[in-house]
């Protein structure tokens, strides 16, 4: 089973074409194994990216170096998945 320990979901709201372009560049970097929960769609629209732990450092560095502000929407994806699983077990019991 795939686990998501340390995966984070970053939220970026591009406010300029340059920022949008920097985010779109990330889409092409397949080795980072990014999972775009919300794809880039235009200025002012949120882009949500689930970033595997091994890629986290380089993605944040890429954004910070480009001056693209981001926030952390989900600190630890696995923690939420575990909670959800617990809920399901509790309910079925």
């Amino acid at each position: 089973t795939e686990t998501f320990v340390g995966h984070q979901v970053l939220r970026i709201v591009p406010s300029s074409d340059e920022e949008l372009q920097k985010v779109q560049e990330l889409q092409d970097l397949e080795h980072l194994k990014l999972d775009f929960w919300l794809s880039p769609r235009g200025l002012g629209y949120p882009v949500d990216i689930r970033v595997p732990f091994p890629s986290l450092q380089s993605v944040k560095a890429h954004l910070e170096a480009s001056g693209v502000p981001y926030s952390i929407m989900i600190e630890d994806v696995q923690a939420l998945v575990d909670e959800e699983e617990m809920e399901m077990l509790r309910s079925s019991r």
Partner: protein, 310 residues
């Protein structure tokens, strides 16, 4: 497993088997209203079940609702379960959609992508696509909302089998899609088609593959406005609405573009809660409020279809 649809826990996420068992209970408890159709089999040979709600007649004008075509969007399948029970309760209490059922049938496909859904519960909670294997690629799955014969393969989908928006080798390559296509064509009298996704809190109408407005844009926009007002009236949940391409982005091979082009004028997609706090991992305690508010929006669409037969 729950003993009846009354004791079933709608405020929790359920396994595929529990949802199948719920369907059987609902049919058994309401033999004169609910029947379960199998419209096909998935890639991994799971049944594609559709619940039919009908008070009689033959080939009546109908409304189609599907949830779970993107398997990781768990609040949609959970809402679909709640919708099924709500239709039965409304009919029993002669309220809400009971009046719609006097002249129309309702078809509800709760687990539209069972292979993907089972995979999210056993192997990868973040799985979105089908689980098909196509020759020449190590990657698995096709995005079932890019596989329809409407602008298929155009901008707004990927030809890369390893990406989440891979459109597949050809239109309707996915049995989960082809089964609905065949059902819609054979039924021939579906008047409203609503495909339910999450997240972002949007109500969308065609097109996604082209900027050309649909001929019925004005009417669809007005219906959306009313539906969103009804939805928001319950808990104040804010929705945006508009055509797919102007509201989110270009997406080709999408479900409701195909259904609209088939002549099903009232074709809509919902993107349910939330707008980005939990995303696909929406806590179970939000299932019922999400389903309740969505139902109010759905009712506006269904009533409009009933009152504006074409």
């Amino acid at each position: 497993l729950a003993l009846s649809t009354t004791t079933f826990n709608y405020a929790a996420y359920h396994t595929l088997d529990e949802i199948y068992s719920f369907m059987d209970m609902l049919v058994a408890e309401n033999p004169n209203l609910v029947s379960k159709l199998e419209i096909g089999r998935s890639t991994e040979d799971r049944p594609l079940y559709v619940l039919k709600f009908s008070t009689g007649g033959t080939s009546r004008p109908a409304i189609w609702i599907d949830t779970g075509i993107h398997s990781r969007e768990w609040v949609t399948q959970a809402s679909g379960v709640w919708f099924a029970k709500k239709i039965v309760d409304d009919h029993a209490n002669n309220e809400g959609v009971a009046s719609i059922l006097e002249t129309m049938d309702i078809f509800l496909e709760i687990v539209t992508n069972p292979d993907g859904f089972a995979y999210t519960q056993t192997k990868n909670r973040m799985w979105r696509k089908t689980r098909s294997h196509h020759s020449g690629s190590i990657c698995v799955g096709v995005d079932p909302n890019r596989n329809w014969d409407a602008g298929f393969g155009g901008p707004g989908a990927s030809g890369n089998p390893c990406l989440e928006t891979y459109h597949g080798p050809y239109a309707n390559s996915e049995p989960e899609v082809k089964s609905i296509v065949d059902f819609v064509k054979s039924h021939g009298n579906i008047k409203a088609f609503v495909s339910i996704h999450s997240y972002s809190q949007l109500l969308l109408y065609p097109y996604g593959y082209t900027t050309t407005p649909v001929p019925d844009q004005q009417e669809l926009h007005e219906i959306s406005e009313k539906a969103v007002a009804a939805l928001s009236s319950l808990y104040g949940t804010k929705y945006k609405y508009g055509s797919i391409i102007t509201t989110i982005y270009q997406a080709s091979g999408g479900t409701i573009d195909w259904t609209y082009n088939q002549g099903i004028k009232y074709s809509f997609t919902f993107e349910l809660r939330d707008t980005g706090l939990y995303g696909f991992l929406l806590p179970a305690k939000q299932i019922i409020p999400t389903a309740e508010e969505t139902w109010l929006g759905l009712k506006v669409i269904m009533e409009h279809a009933r009152d504006n037969m074409y």
